[in-house]
């Protein structure tokens, strides 16, 4: 099933985030670790499963020479828009939390 614009999985989100700069498989795995501060460690199976789905959904594409075995992936316009939408959603959720937290503290 393709990406419908709803909440992303953690793997999807961090892969898109890491692909703000085009990258290939192994480098991408390292980049996911870096952008998550080492919190998210992605194995090759998870990574390639997610890459295949993202490519099918048109959120990422391959760039550079296609005849090499090492493939470089980059965000598409749709992928960039989906990432921004997800970031906006996460920010809204966080803002909701902060507002709720502030309300509870005021009540106390």
């Amino acid at each position: 099933m393709g990406y419908s614009g709803g909440p992303m999985t953690e793997a999807m989100y961090y892969i898109l985030l890491a692909l703000l700069e085009p990258s290939h498989g192994y480098r991408l795995m390292q980049a996911v670790g870096e952008v998550s501060g080492g919190r998210v460690k992605m194995g090759p199976g998870t990574l390639y499963g997610a890459l295949a789905r993202l490519e099918e959904d048109g959120l990422i594409c391959r760039v550079g020479e296609r005849d090499t075995r090492r493939k470089t992936y980059a965000l598409t316009e749709s992928g960039r828009a989906a990432l921004e939408t997800e970031i906006t959603r996460l920010q809204a959720m966080l803002a909701d939390f902060e507002r709720m937290k502030g309300g509870v503290q005021d009540a106390e």
């Binding site: 290939h24 498989g25 460690k41 998870t46 090492r70």
Partner: protein, 388 residues
């Protein structure tokens, strides 16, 4: 990896296990390296090992993506290479990678859920294969028993089939429970140091070969039973009786036995060829009838257990002699069907006769009238029927 030149190589059966034991397979290869056998390549049936000094190696197996994603798989292999792992080959839908333990290659952990589709597919295949096989065997067994009394050699085959069913039953139950409980949804982490099962390279493939052999045996039993259906077994015959000449040969292997007729001196039966799946006998006999007439018969007769089978044999006889055109149908009391071909009736000619559960083809040359000849045959068949 030690210098690969001038190394002695040996080939061993590739471990073929249920996929959840991937960790045990990796451990097995590591143990081999400690014994001086370093895995160089894997194949569907055999793995190639290089004989080296004992060393510490790490091995990892990764599920291969389905065929349409082969291109992506190339990328994944490159991924492992970038991480310091060497690709060894793909077998049983698994990519195998190796790295010396002290190489510093980054440890790559695959989420066990990534294996889930493969695990499930394999379990389902095993389950349905075992179930269909078991049902097939269970269906064949009664057919064999109903068709004819099994001979001693058949009992060996039957015992073998039952043994295989018993061997298969635990796996069938285990796979069924695994699927029913949907365990693919909660797979444990892969234990790269899992205990190595005994006979890791011998378990699955020879077992599959044995089961294939069993299917062949069962099929032979079934065909054999089908062929013999309705015929009296040879062991039930007695010397000198027509029924004893139930030949069990095939067309390419001509056999000829001479049996003395106990009650008719100087008469013999000659059992001759039979096409595969078609048992009959042929006899040459010259006998004096009570009236003194000399009868010369060349006879084929099948004594069947049912009229239906006799009709089938009768059709076979007609097919074998289909070069005899324009056979004449005769209405003779006491016989269900009588066909005559050639010569003067009652003097010379070929007759196809079916009576009840007996089918007869014979050649006659003599002086008897047709009516007397067929009456003699009826008497002959009645005697044989009583004997059988």
């Amino acid at each position: 990896m030690p210098n690969e030149e001038k190394l002695r190589h040996s080939w061993r059966l590739h471990p073929s296990l249920i996929l959840e034991q991937i960790g045990a397979v990796e451990h097995y290869y590591e143990e081999q390296a400690r014994r001086g056998l370093v895995l160089e390549s894997v194949g569907g049936w055999f793995d190639c090992f290089a004989h080296t000094a004992p060393c510490e190696m790490r091995y990892r197996a990764e599920p291969a993506l389905p065929g349409e994603r082969e291109e992506a798989d190339w990328d994944r292999r490159q991924f492992y290479q970038d991480a310091g792992w060497n690709y060894l080959g793909t077998a049983s839908n698994l990519h195998f990678f190796a790295s010396p333990a002290d190489s510093g290659a980054e440890e790559l952990h695959t989420d066990p859920q990534d294996f889930a589709p493969m695990f499930r597919r394999q379990r389902r295949m095993n389950f349905w294969y075992s179930l269909i096989y078991s049902l097939l065997m269970l269906a064949i067994l009664p057919l064999i028993f109903l068709s004819y009394p099994p001979e001693p050699r058949d009992w060996v085959c039957l015992v073998w089939i039952l043994f295989c069913l018993l061997v298969m039953l635990p796996g069938l139950i285990r796979d069924g429970r695994w699927l029913f409980q949907k365990r693919w949804q909660h797979l444990p982490a892969i234990d790269h140091r899992a205990k190595i099962p005994r006979g890791i390279t011998l378990r699955a493939r020879p077992l599959a070969a044995l089961f294939t052999l069993t299917v062949v045996i069962a099929a032979n039993l079934l065909f054999s039973g089908s062929d013999r259906m309705g015929f009296a077994p040879v062991s039930a015959a007695q010397d000198g009786q027509l029924v004893l000449t139930l030949a069990e040969t095939d067309g390419s292997d001509l056999l000829s036995y001479n049996y003395p007729l106990l009650d008719r001196e100087n008469n013999t039966f000659r059992v001759t060829f039979a096409p595969s799946g078609y048992w009959f006998y042929e006899s040459d006999e010259s006998a004096k009838t009570p009236s003194g007439a000399v009868v010369q018969l060349s006879l084929e007769r099948a004594s069947c257990r049912s009229e239906k089978m006799a009709k089938w044999v009768f059709e076979q006889m007609l097919d074998r002699y289909d070069w005899m055109d324009d056979k004449t149908s005769l209405a003779v009391p006491g016989f269900d069907e009588v066909l005559h071909w050639g010569g003067e009736p009652g003097r010379i000619g070929w007759y196809f006769v079916r009576s009840g559960n007996q089918a007869v083809f014979f050649y006659y040359e003599g002086r008897m009238e047709e009516e007397d000849l067929l009456a003699l045959l009826a008497e002959h068949l009645a005697d044989a029927q009583q004997t059988a």
